[in-house]
Structure formats: C-alpha cells, structure tokens
C-alpha cells in the first residue's frame, strides 16, 4: 500500500502500462519534457524515450487520427487531450472514425485507443478549461467512458483502459488530481465498467462520479446528522452504465439523486432517471432528482461556486425527495 495523489496514481498506472506492453505509447501536447500541463506524465519520456512518449504537434484531430492509424498497426496509443474544452477539434475523429471502426469492419478491426481528458470545473480557470462534455461521447456507440474518483481506481482503471480492446475515454477529475489516497498496486479493482457502493444506506441513494464523489459522500454524512441513512454509489463507468448496481440500491432505498457537474439537460442523470423509472418504478418513493449544471456554457470562474453542485445542492435535492 502506498499513499499517492490521483495524478501520481495515473502516472504510476501509465508507467506500469508502458512497462507491461511494448506496444503502448503516449501521445499528446506537452506530455514529454514538461510532463503535461498537470504533470500526469512527469518523468515518463525520460524513462521510456521519445518514441514511446510523443510530444505531438498541437493538433487534436491529428493526435486522435494518428492514434487510430497506430492502433491499426497493432499499437496501443494513450492520448492526452490537454483540457476538456479542447477535445472538440478531435471530435470528428473520435465519433466518426474511432467509435465506428469495429462496426464498419463488421467486427474485424479493433481500435484499442485510450483518450485521457482532464475534465470538470472548480479550479478557477478561464474559458474552455472547466467543462464536462461526457454526455456527448456517451451518446456515441462504440466508445467506452470511465472516470475514476480516487487514487486506487485511477491507478488501475487507466491500465484496464489500456488493455481493453475497445476505445476508452478516461475522464480525469482535474480538481481532484491532488487528492491523496491509498493505492494497493497488487490488487486490481475489478471490472472498470462497474459501479461501486462507497457508503451503505437505507433511505436514499446518491449516484455521482468523478469530481462529485467526495461531495456526495460529504452530503451523505451531513444527511446522517439529520437522521437520514443515505447510500452513495460511485458510478465509475459512464458508458456502459452499471444499471444493475443502481437498480439494486434503489429497490432498497426508494429514492435516487444523481449528481454531476455537466448540465442536467440531455445528461447522464437523465439517462439514469429514465432507466431507473423503467426498472424500479414500483420501488420509487419519489421522482429521481438530478443535481447538475445549468443549461448555459460553463460560467466565469468568479461565479462557478454557485454553478457547481455542492453539498447543499445535494442536500436540497434529498429534502425534496424525502418530502414525497
């Protein structure tokens, strides 16, 4: 067991991937000498060389597009997109090419490309540096999307993404990069596409993922002081979603809150609400309530604390659920 930050855990996970498989390589902007703008790839170029840790030209479509070509040649490229808001020049390659390669080839070709994207707000940054675009990718069949919320998951999930035969986007909760946690490098965390129950409860369930998992846990702790026993599920995988785990929880608790930073409209919370209403309608004591961003471009940093779901917003949603 070692204590490390999420950023360091991903760094160590990438290092393990590079050591385990000579076909893996990293590509991205400023990931070499600098170690990435968040230093997640720190030291890897020094140890693995420029052919395996590639400082790419500043071109996201080129990064994803050449990664697809490398994958066709048998490599396992791990791409870093510098910030959430800068993935869009590569959106075409991700959605029209990467996601469809397997289906277009009638299952003959695989595209085991990993795309790492630091995402989410709460860092006081400028425009395009705080977004949560995961739903745009979740809507695209052919992709898998995961998001770790702690160091242990971060260390293992990046490696599991690399060994997966399908393309995987790893959304990394950038405001939690420096959150420390215990990492057991000898014990894999199981299926990366499954949800984990982090806290047991009997009265309501909160589903959260990525940067909002610590917020959900804090809200559950606060609710306990008010006499409510609240279960917290870390979704971990956004596509596919582990609806079995969520359904099982809701059939026991009867109430469900889904929290994410992304705008609620057309978001992952809406998908979960719909599925759970289909699967557990008779168990529900209240409508599924979503807590998320508003239908606006991510606001300026000076007001983001009012925009981002926090403990109080989740507690308010719990209050509404309990009022039914």
């Amino acid at each position: 067991m070692a204590t490390m930050t999420i950023a360091k855990a991903i760094n160590e996970g990438l290092r393990a991937s590079l050591e385990n498989d000579p076909k893996t390589l990293l590509m991205g902007e400023d990931i070499g000498e600098l170690g990435g703008v968040y230093r997640v790839t720190d030291g890897l170029k020094k140890d693995f060389g420029a052919m395996r840790v590639v400082d790419s030209p500043l071109a996201e479509s080129g990064i994803i597009g050449t990664a697809i070509g490398l994958a066709l040649r048998g490599y396992r490229p791990i791409c870093e997109i510098q910030f959430d808001g800068f993935v869009f020049p590569g959106f075409n390659q991700i959605t029209t090419q990467l996601a469809k390669l397997r289906t277009r080839s009638d299952g003959m070709l695989s595209a085991p490309v990993v795309i790492r994207i630091p995402y989410g707000g709460g860092i006081g940054s400028i425009e395009h540096h705080s977004e949560s675009p995961e739903a745009l990718f979740a809507h695209t069949a052919g992709l898998r999307i995961i998001t770790p919320s702690n160091a242990q998951d971060a260390y293992w999930m990046i490696q599991q993404a690399v060994t997966c035969e399908d393309p995987v986007i790893v959304f990394e909760p950038k405001r939690r990069y420096w959150l420390k946690g215990e990492v057991d490098t000898s014990a894999p965390v199981g299926d990366p596409f499954s949800a984990h129950v982090l806290r047991s409860g009997t009265d309501a369930t909160i589903v959260a993922y990525g940067p909002l998992v610590p917020v959900a846990l804090a809200a559950a702790a606060a609710a306990e002081e008010d006499g409510h026993s609240v279960e917290v599920i870390d979704l971990r995988s956004i596509s596919p979603i582990d609806f079995d785990t969520v359904t099982e929880s809701v059939t026991r608790t009867g109430r469900l809150i889904v929290a994410h930073e992304a705008p609620t409209f057309g978001g992952i919370g809406g998908e979960i609400a719909a599925r759970i209403s289909e699967r557990a309608f008779l168990s529900l004591e209240a409508p599924v309530i979503r807590v998320g961003g508003f239908h606006m471009p991510y606001p300026v940093a000076r007001v983001e604390e009012h925009y981002l779901p926090d403990i109080d917003r989740i507690l308010e949603a719990l209050d509404r659920a309990f009022a039914y």
């Binding site: 479509s61 597009g65 697809i68 490599y75 277009r104 069949a141 898998r144 997966c164 035969e165």
Partner: protein
C-alpha cells in the same frame, strides 16, 4: 472580381464557370507537370525533374520499355473502367444505393496502386476502385458497401487496403499513424522489409483540416507516407480553384517535404513517380506529396448532375487526354499489342461484368442481430440488454404468425 455585384440575370453561366476553371496544366505558373506518355500516344525516352532542390532521374522507375508491364497497366485500367460502367448500370437499375464513378482517373489509380509493394498499406477515400483492384480486393466486395449490406466489405489486413472512408480526409491521419507504427516496427526489428503508407484524397478534401494536421505530423516525424492527391478538378460542383490558389503540389513546400505534380492521366509517369516517392519514404527520408492532375469524366456520384455546373465543352476538352486511349495508341503504334489483345481484353471484361452482376444480385442483407455483435470487441451490458429486447420483440411476431 466584382461580378458578385452584378444582377444575376446578367451572368453568362458558361462564362462564370469557365472563369473558375484552372489553366492548362502546363501553363500554370510555378509548377511543372511530369509526363512521359503524351495524350497523342507518344512516349518520351526518359524523365528527370528537380523536386524541392533535389535532382531526380526517374528512369529506374519507368516501365516504358517493358511491353508486358505496359499491357498489364492497360488491362487494369480497362477492367476497372468496365467495372465502373457495370456498377453505374447496377445503380441505375436500383441494385445499388449509390455509385461513385472513377472514369477518367484510371491512370492515377492504377499507376499509383501498381507502385505499391505488398508490405505497403493504402488508405483510400471512396473512389479508389482502381487502387483496390491493384491490391487484389475482390471487386464485388466494394459493391457490398454501395448495396447497403455492410459499411466495410473486405478485411483490410489481408490486402493492406483500408476500408473506404466517407468523411473526407479522415483517413489521412490514419495513414500517418500507421506509418509511425511502421517506423517503430522497423526500429524494433530492422530485418523487416521497409514499408510505407499512401493516403488518397482529392482536391476537395485538400481543404480539410485533417490533411493539414496529418501533413504536419508526417513532416515532424519523417513518417514514411506518400500523400496522393487526385486533383480531378471538381469537388462535386465546386472547381478546384475554390480549394486552392496555388498548385496543390506546391503546398508541400510549406510543410517542408517534396511536392510534385504529375499528369494523372499518364499511367506510366504516375507509377514511376509514386515508386520513387514510396522508396524515398521507406528509406527514412519522410513524406512526399504527389498531385495527380486528372479529370473526373463522370458525375461525382450517381446522385449528381454535372450539367448544372460544368460544360460539356470542358468534358470534351479532356476527352483527348483520356488515360486509356493514349496507352492504346502507344501500344498499337509500337507494335506491343495487336487487335487480338484488345479483343481478348474486351471479352475478359464482359465476363467480369457478368460475374459482378451475379455477385451483386446474390448479396443479401445481414440480420440486424449481427450488428449488435459488431459494436464492441468486449461484452457490453447495454448491447446485451437491447439485443435481448429485440430478439423477444421479433419473436413475438413469429408467435403471431403461428396463431394466424
């Protein structure tokens, strides 16, 4: 030009269109069009050029003296034109959803395709039927895409010929990435035969960002890739002058690698220059851009109507530059092919067309069920759930049928 201020009624449509047509290939400033086999069927004895300051003698790459090879180039061009005609007919008869004709571009495609070594890998757009033929792809497999029974049609790894890509230029970075993989393979195992990739695109796609980004990547990493642009003058209805203000071959200068324009209707030159470019790329000297100057003699697709935007007169001007006619003239004049050769070839093409038609008519639609299995490589709970629903739903109709 202030013509946009004129009332529409004053436009002479013909004049507007003609004004945007590029000048004669040889008359365009700043670029030389390489050619050994002239439209009149005469063959020059050699070919040299200075490309990006490099003096190149293409003689070792020219097949001009090899009668058997020239006949086989003609045969490929003839067969693929017949394939094109039969496919167009199949579309007109409702057997294909759409067809993308290549007539006029046989020289560019057969010449470049025949230059490839078996270990090279080609990344086509969607009109490269001639290249597919040179790679040994079953021609009927191409029509599976256009009949709507698959979005692919062949195993790209068997023929080193990637699937058609309909999003323009998207395959260009794939070709560069694959070439970067070849570089790494070569480093890991120097005994591997050197290999290169070739990215096909057109004058229209040259405006796409993916062409720019892939050229930057290729140049930065000296990737063994040849960018092969078929400038067929038209991106559906928009002339190439809207895509570029300089000859496309010259764009390579800006990326720091050689660019060369060839007469795309001269199969002999296309093959020689592509051989040179591929060899250069395989030897570690980095990418080359080849602009094959040609003409789309037919419509963009069978859904297109060229009479809306270009003149029969212009099509007629290109007719004498036809890639097949000039090689036939040469072969006959040089006594390298006789009537029997052309008659036999006609019979071979007719038989091929008959077989093709049979193959197309026998193509059946896949089950939707099979599509569920081709989305992900690994098990996926949502796919499994939706497949179960679909199967039960379909089974419900079967039960109804029995009761009735």
């Amino acid at each position: 030009m202030n013509s946009s201020r004129l009332p529409a009624a004053e436009f002479e449509v013909e004049e507007v269109v003609r004004a945007t047509l590029p000048a004669e290939p040889d008359g365009e400033p700043g670029v030389t069009t390489l050619q050994v086999l002239a439209p009149d069927g005469t063959m020059a004895s050699g070919l040299t050029a200075t490309i990006a300051g490099e003096h190149v003698d293409f003689s070792p790459y020219l097949a001009a003296d090899d009668a058997g090879h020239l006949r086989s180039l003609y045969r490929d061009m003839f067969l693929i034109r017949r394939f094109d005609q039969e496919s167009t007919a199949l579309q007109r008869q409702g057997q294909l959803a759409l067809w993308v004709p290549l007539t006029g571009q046989e020289g560019a495609q057969i010449g470049s395709g025949r230059a490839l070594a078996p270990q090279d890998y080609a990344f086509p757009t969607y009109r490269e039927h001639g290249v597919a033929l040179t790679r040994g792809v079953e021609l009927s497999d191409i029509l599976r895409l256009f009949r709507g029974v698959t979005n692919g049609g062949w195993d790209p790894r068997e023929r080193n010929f990637h699937l058609y890509t309909l999003v323009l230029a998207a395959q260009s970075p794939h070709a560069v990435g694959y070439a970067m993989g070849l570089q790494r393979d070569q480093l890991a195992d120097p005994s591997l035969p050197p290999a290169a990739t070739i990215a096909y695109f057109g004058d229209g796609a040259s405006s796409e960002g993916d062409i720019h980004e892939s050229m930057v990547f290729a140049a930065s990493f000296d990737a063994p890739v040849v960018f092969f642009c078929q400038n067929n003058q038209w991106a559906i209805s928009v002339p190439s002058s809207v895509q570029t203000k300089v000859p496309l071959a010259r764009r390579a200068e800006g990326y720091g690698f050689p660019g060369v324009r060839v007469d795309g209707n001269d199969v002999v030159t296309v093959e020689a220059v592509t051989r040179w470019a591929l060899e250069r790329a395989r030897s570690g000297k980095g990418p080359v851009l080849i602009e094959a100057y040609t003409y789309r003699m037919s419509a963009h697709t069978t859904a297109d109507d060229p009479t809306k935007y270009r003149l029969t007169r212009d099509e007629q001007e290109w007719q004498p530059r036809d890639p097949l006619a000039r090689l036939e003239t040469y072969l006959r004049a040089a006594g390298l092919a006789d009537d029997a050769f052309f008659e036999d070839l006609g019979a071979e093409a007719a038989a091929m067309a008959t077989d093709l038609r049979k193959a197309v008519l026998a193509m059946t639609a896949p089950d939707l069920e099979s599509r569920f299995a081709a989305v992900y490589a690994e098990p996926h709970p949502l796919i499994q759930e939706e497949l179960r629903f679909f199967q039960q739903y379909e089974a419900g109709f079967a039960d109804e049928g029995k009761q009735a």
